[in-house]
Symmetry: C3
């Protein structure tokens, strides 16, 4: 399925090696020296390939898979067809990701766009006052402005814009066409193409004669190990900092307003919008297209369903959904009550 | 209304020629040699111009139009004012588009951004291993990476980024500041500015200690005659391909997750989000700001209303709407029941 | 809180000067010669700093603020702690913005990205037929196409694309990586990074055999003093112009379809979508993630709540919300009736 132009694959790995990698026990009748060529999805895997079952929706595919081996939880081992090796693991998706990484080590971090030679392109625009450590790659058309700093091991993709005074840590990937201003970036951060960070927050003192721009003098702080999806936007703080906490993963087209504080290890699915001065504590997860109102707090570990609107504080560990978001049970009761009401009337 | 700086217009065309073009019969009392200068909207058209009526909302404008000719369906012919030629056609919008194309042939494909000279700019960045056919235009600041291929007749706009190994077919327009990675593009594809295609899908194995990145080793396949709007994002597949089927039209700021398969001739209006591993069969239409959950299928020819959320499979030909999306009739019943309930209580 | 790398701050200003600036009376016991160093948010302000109270949610912070002075409305003066100077003003947020501007005059308009030297970079791509007034800054990698015009005092950011024939007025800021085509821009306009303006509207004559592209021959007109957020998209008109009225402020990731007319001094919060041929009259405000259907009119001064969907005309001054949007009171009644219904059933 995967085009060899795009990633270099390890040629093959033994089943025994893979089992060890994911801490699975090789079944007695399995041949640990069997060579596995690659990973594949369960409904497309062929002989010589390894696959996984995670979503119960695909159990029917498990029963007819042509893979040579399957990673799955204990309760599905019996459904693995004869002749296919079942590797029982606690977390099949994690195990699959570890094996994928073993076959495609390059895929854990985006490739450079122009070529894989590294170094600073003659066609990049580097300000003489910028400080660039050894081992940085700056691709053609990318710019690094006055007083900006880039740490070693970082790639600045084609046409990315590192604004004046911006500091980017080590081993980061700044995607093509990203624009960073007033932003400090930690280590091992991945920004996919088109991310805009540090532009003016949306602050106006409104009146019946027009709207007066409020200076936005804060910054954006992106901590270590953050990943941010394509075309997402993060405004800098009005009079404090907008912060994206360590290890947080943000999908495409997410909008984060000024002064927002996102905790550590949060997950924001695509097209989410966080209004100004909202706070997410650590390990918050928010489904796609949801919105969070300004000046509210979502507590540690809370989970918000997709397409919901959070208008009030959510307690730690809360499971909320709906418009406005409420505890999931209450939300389901309301949807069901409305459905019954409509049926009665018709 | 249209600024002559932007498009070159054909000077004028005879009414008879236009009627023939759209397969309409010239009324007996009309003068086929009358010259028409241009097209115009119904409430702004002046003498010497041709307009159309499609949306019944504008019938009042029809009755006082100052156009010289009007394209309309049979049932509106009687409402065309005296002295205005009515050209009866089955599909007035299609006819108008054909006549617009006759006046503005350049407008069927985006213009180059820098100038109309074509060729490969000295200020473009072309990797020596890239293969570029004759008759390709690469504008200033655009880059074509290692081993990438571009077919003849294609324009790569200013600062667009064609990543390593990407292949673009013939007669395409790749808009300014687009970023393509891990993507194969067919023929006659139009990408508007800022489209990002082929970046990592949003795949993490989540846990209470942090989130482990899952390698995304698939590709994006964009088939022939697809058009994609500004700042839309399409992630590459996790372990298979993300596919956009032939002739599909996608508006601005649409988000398409990894492994999604969009069929042929689908229509996705702006700000739609398709979650990972969802499938749209052919001729599906989805209104603006709607979302489709992961791992579900929307059947052939189904239509989803704007601002809806599809959480379960939709049968072929279904007309669905609401959150979650249900058959449109049921959705309307629920909204109406709720309205009545609230009126009763107040 | 603010990093001195990013903005140059005025060293300090006297309390008396600041009071005068915002038209506040210095309390009898206050020392007008006291020096204030900077502005700060109410819960972080230290001695020597000035803050403000606007949102009543932060009254508790007021009572323990360590700022030297506070801007607040009359009704909060009594809650200002002893030793902190209360400056009573009608509109504390406006006053704070005026004082912020006094300390950080640079922050009223985005900085250039590469450096602050101005002028036309040798690494910019300027077409010989473009007309550029004196005093324009074009940064590295930016392009100005054939016959385009740029007025004095305007900055064209790194890698921004000014397409053929586009005209930009004076004292504008065109953000990095913006792409303008078929667009006329007034004076003192701010476009944040990644804005795409003037690409083809989404116009197709659809049919069961495929979709026929309709030429889009209008323009985009962006009037004076407009500000548009990062990665927003504005399509040009189909056969008339898309217009953004004077003084209108648009947040990030807003989508504006073809033929839309936005009045003067409107406010569109992030991720709003305006469908084709919709009209907003002057001073309309629309909350985040809301949508407006095509061919409808939102009357002067109307306010639409966040995450609403406007499907029908809204009268001038209307306060609407919900899906579909209805008068706010009715919307609240419906939500409350549904909540009660669900409680009863459970």
């Amino acid at each position: 399925m995967t085009d060899p132009v795009f990633f270099t694959k390890i040629e093959s790995l033994s089943l025994g090696h893979l089992a060890e990698l994911v801490d699975a026990q090789l079944p007695d009748n399995a041949d640990g020296s069997m060579l596995i060529d690659t990973v594949a999805p369960i409904n497309a895997a062929a002989s010589g390939q390894i696959t996984f079952l995670d979503n119960p929706k695909y159990v029917a595919d498990l029963e007819k898979t042509e893979a040579s081996a399957v990673l799955c939880a204990k309760r599905y081992v019996d459904k693995v067809p004869d002749g296919v090796v079942a590797l029982e693991v606690k977390n099949p998706y994690l195990a699959f990701s570890q094996i994928s990484a073993a076959f495609y080590p390059e895929a854990l971090k985006p490739l450079a766009y122009f070529d894989s030679q590294g170094g600073i392109s003659q066609a990049a625009h580097i300000h003489p006052s910028a400080k660039i450590e050894a081992g940085v790659c700056v691709e053609p058309g990318a710019s690094v402005g006055a007083l900006a700093e880039i740490g070693s091991g970082t790639t600045v993709g084609v046409n990315a814009v590192i604004g004046q005074g911006v500091r980017v840590g080590r081993d980061c990937h700044i995607g093509a066409n990203c624009v960073l201003q007033h932003t400090l970036v930690g280590d091992r951060v991945i920004l996919h193409p088109g991310v805009c960070s540090g532009q003016d927050g949306f602050g106006f003192s409104m009146s019946a004669t027009g709207h007066q721009k409020v200076p936005q003098i804060g910054r954006v702080i992106i901590q270590d190990n953050v990943e941010i999806g394509a075309n997402s936007t993060i405004d800098r703080g009005a009079n404090r900092d907008t912060i994206i906490g360590e290890g947080t993963k943000i999908d495409n087209q997410v909008q984060i307003g000024h002064n927002v504080e996102v905790g550590r290890h949060c997950v924001l699915v695509s097209q989410v919008g966080l209004s100004g001065s909202s706070t997410l504590q650590d390990f918050v997860a928010i489904g796609g297209q949801s919105g969070v109102a300004g000046h509210i707090t979502v507590g540690m570990g809370a989970q918000i369903a997709a397409v919901s609107v959070v208008k009030d504080d959510v307690p730690a560990g809360g499971r909320y959904g709906g418009v406005p978001a409420k505890p999931v049970k209450q939300w389901f009761r309301e949807m069901s009550a409305l459905k019954k009401l409509a049926e009665k009337k018709s």
